[in-house]
Structures are given as C-alpha cells and as structure tokens.
C-alpha cells in the first residue's frame, strides 16, 4: 500500500487532480464556497471519462476531498444539515470504492487524508449540532477508532518526510492533530468522562502533551504550554459545562489567538484548521454567553 502514498506516476491524470485539489485549497482558504461548487461541477463533467484503474481511485479520492472541503465551509456558515449530507455521501463513496477494489482483487487504499478530513468535519458538526445527530454517519466511538488508525498511518507516512520535507510532514501531522481535537471534543460531549480522559491521554502521548482533562486547568496551573490546541479544548470544556462567561471567553480566545500567531511566526505550518470557521465559532460562543447573562438577569 506504500506505493499509493509516494505519488505513484499516473501521468497527466494525477496532474489534473492535483490542480483541482490545489484550486480547492486556495478557495477553501479564501472561504470561497462558490469556487468549490464549481470544482465539484467540473469533476462531475469529467465522470464519464474516468473508466480505468488507477484513475478511478484517484478520481474518488479527489471527489471526496473537494466535497469535504465544501462540507467544512458549509458547517462554518451554519448549514449543518447540508454538511451532514455531504459527510454521509463521502462515506458512502469511500465504502463503494473499498468494495469495488475488493471485488477487483486490488489492495485497499489508506486514504488517510480523506479519513481525517471527514473526521474533522464530523467532529466539528457533532460537537455543535443537536443531540439527534450523535450517531450520524459514524458513532463517536467509531470516529475515535478511525482517528487512531488514521493518525497511526499518517505518522508512519510522515516519519521519512521529517528529514526530506519537514514542512509537509508537520502540516500533515498538524491537520491530523486538529481532526483529533475535533473528535475528542465530540466524544467529550457524548461519551462518559472516563473515555474522554483516555482519549486525551492518547492524544497527548501522540502529540507531546497539549490537552488537559480537568476543566479550569488553566486557572489551577500557573505554568502552561502555549498551545492553541490546549486553549481550544479549555474553551470547549467550559462551554460544555455551561461555565463559560463572556470575560473568560475573551481571555481564553485571546490566548488561543496568541498561540496561533506564535506558531505562524515561528513556522510555515498550514494553520487552516485553526482559522477556518473560527470567527463563526467565536460569535456563537459569545452569543451563548450573552444569552446566559440575560437569563441570569431575568432570574434575579
């Protein structure tokens, strides 16, 4: 399976798919959902032309990734239902591809980027959407197992890249870590606390200690790692417990931003995970805090 990670030569087909993915990345960074819609339409037009392997698998992979980026943008605009539909169909396409390859006697493809991008989307959606979506597409437990497997694969793949192309390796690991954080936040909401603690420990072993299980960890520990993941999870825990107020939110959000800025100054990492949908998330959290304030005022 290793050959599929190492940019196997597929001629111009691969080039065309890479061009589409690059345009998708640029459009995603700019929040341009119209452009991604256009790319999906372009892939749709090309569908009848793709009839052979390995082009079919490459096409599926490209289609899934472009679709998932659209889903993340839709989630950022509050269109959770449509984003869930996209996640559902992407998973169906993935399963279809697996069964097709199995029927042809071809090896399974790891599709790590599709997997962790799908988990990123699902985690982001489920931690915010209504409770009925708990088991949509994948259950929280399945999401965690999938993430563990995708993270193992991604770390194996990026190990040799750390010397040859460290920026690429760190970008992949960063994206995997971001997806893991979304999954952990989703599981914190839906699974028993003991499970969430186990997940946090696993994440910390993998990424070198970023998250803390206990709420209010930042208040009780004067020496803190300047990690954007850490601040993000601190904010989520307090929000989940209904203990987040506007002053705390502003303080923690500023620390999160400072951590992100520090990473941006010191490295060339792709920080789109942190920045995408962040503005909306902050606005929603701030509105919740204000509503709580109004509720408290009315009650008193």
């Amino acid at each position: 399976m290793e050959q599929y990670w190492t940019a196997e030569k597929l001629g111009n087909f691969k080039l065309a798919c890479n061009l589409i993915l690059a345009e998708c990345t640029t459009a995603f960074r700019a929040g341009n959902h119209h452009k991604i819609e256009e790319l999906l339409a372009r892939l749709e037009q090309a569908a009848p032309l793709v009839k052979a392997e390995p082009q079919r698998s490459t096409y599926e992979y490209t289609y899934c990734l472009v679709g998932l980026h659209m889903g993340i943008l839709l989630a950022g605009m509050g269109e959770f239902d449509y984003a869930f539909v996209i996640a559902h169909y992407v998973e169906a396409i993935r399963q279809y591809g697996r069964s097709r390859r199995q029927a042809l006697g071809l090896p399974m493809l790891p599709q790590t980027e599709v997997r962790y991008t799908l988990l990123n989307l699902l985690g982001d959606l489920k931690k915010q959407a209504s409770l009925e979506h708990r088991d949509a597409v994948l259950t929280p437990g399945q999401m965690w197992e999938e993430w563990k497997s995708a993270a193992t694969r991604a770390f194996e793949h990026t190990e040799p890249l750390l010397l040859k192309n460290p920026q690429r390796a760190h970008n992949v690991r960063h994206a995997v870590g971001w997806a893991g954080l979304q999954v952990i936040e989703c599981c914190t909401r839906f699974l028993p606390q003991a499970d969430a603690a186990r997940m946090v420990n696993h994440f910390n072993r993998r990424f070198g200690g970023h998250l803390a299980v206990a709420p209010w960890h930042f208040r009780d520990n004067p020496v803190l790692a300047n990690s954007a993941w850490y601040w993000d999870y601190e904010i989520y825990k307090l929000d989940f417990l209904g203990r987040l107020n506007l002053a705390t939110l502003e303080d923690l959000w500023a620390r999160r931003e400072a951590a992100i800025n520090q990473i941006a100054q010191e490295t060339d990492y792709d920080l789109r995970g942190f920045n995408s949908n962040a503005r909306r998330e902050y606005r929603v959290l701030a509105e919740k805090c204000k509503l709580q304030l109004i509720g408290v005022a009315r009650a008193s």
Binding site: V50, K51, M77
Partner: protein, 192 residues
C-alpha cells in the same frame, strides 16, 4: 518503443543552450502570471503539480538539465498560457536543424493535448498507454446518485447560505457597504 511521455520529454529536452534559456524565460513568465492571477507562490505551484518545492527552485535556477514534460507543461497550464511558448521554443530548435521529426511529434502531441483540454481540464489525463480497463469499466467512477448527493447538498447549502446573507460574497458585500457608509458614499458604486 517509447511511451507517450517519454517521446515528448525526450524531444523537448534535446534543445540547445539558447533554447534552454528561452524555456527558462518562458517558465519565469509563467511564474509571474501565476503569482499575478492566482496569488500563488512556489509552494502552491509545487502542491498543484505534486512536486517538491526544491524541484521548482532548481528548475528556475537552471539546475535541472532534463525537466520532465509534466513539469514544464503543468507550469504553463497553471499560468493559463496556451503552450504556444513551448511550441515556439520547439519550432526554433527545429529551425536550428537540431531535430525535425521529433519536434513535429512534440508539436502534434501538445496540440492534441490542448484539444483534449477543451473545457474540462481533467480530460488532460488518461494517457492511453496506462489505461487498463477494469471490470465494470462501463460504469461511472462513482455511482451517479452518490455524486449527485454531494453536488446537490453543496449547491443547495451554498444557495441557502447566500440567500440568507451568509458566506463569502455576502460578507464581502457587507464589508463594502460598511466601508461606503463610513466614507459617506451612497447609491451604486461607480467604476473608475
């Protein structure tokens, strides 16, 4: 027998020093245009072409004696250049008497490639010699209902967000309106 890519690559690269310099100049113009039109640096171009950043750097510095056809043509495609520049270089080399038959082949192949490009970029792919028809090849690569599921949700979600004043264009319009209001402008914006 040489494959499609080997034939073109071999022909393209048997150029004189002068032609190689012309090729480098043409690539530089492509990079300028890619930066201007797409706002992409070398990192994005490397990502788009699936090559290492250092490969592009070496190519621009003339340190790659034999760049591949995929790389050279890919840069031209990204810059939305018509590949005429490549043809120009080839034609010049032909005039110098270095090669005639091979360069004619290159021209024909690139013209064929351009014709295939047409409206759908992905048509570039599917080089004939790598096409191994698999079982169920007459089917679309992904069942139509699954594709339509993704595309339909994308369109509907995008349309709904736009209608409700969310999304990129709405945000841009809102910022422009706010700026206009601050500057005391009203009514329709006039172009300069």
């Amino acid at each position: 027998m040489l494959t499609f890519h080997e034939q073109i690559t071999k022909s393209l690269l048997e150029l004189s020093d002068l032609d190689r310099q012309l090729l480098l100049d043409s690539i530089e113009r492509c990079f300028d245009d890619i930066r201007r039109t797409r706002g992409w640096g070398m990192a994005e171009v490397a990502l788009a072409l699936g090559v290492h950043y250092d490969t592009l750097s070496k190519l621009r510095n003339g340190k790659i004696a034999k760049p591949s056809f995929d790389l050279v043509a890919g840069i031209h495609l990204l810059a939305e250049h018509s590949l005429d520049e490549l043809l120009g270089i080839s034609a010049k080399a032909a005039r110098n008497g270095q090669s005639d038959q091979r360069l004619t082949l290159v021209e024909n192949q690139i013209k064929g490639l351009m014709a295939m490009l047409g409206q759908v970029m992905i048509q570039v792919g599917i080089p004939a010699e790598t096409e191994t028809v698999a079982a169920g090849a007459s089917d679309a690569p992904i069942p139509a209902d699954l594709r339509q599921g993704v595309l339909g949700a994308a369109k509907a979600g995008s349309k709904k967000a736009a209608a409700e004043g969310r999304g990129r264009n709405a945000a841009l319009r809102k910022r422009t309106a706010e700026r206009d209001a601050q500057q005391g402008r009203t009514g329709r914006r006039k172009s300069a």
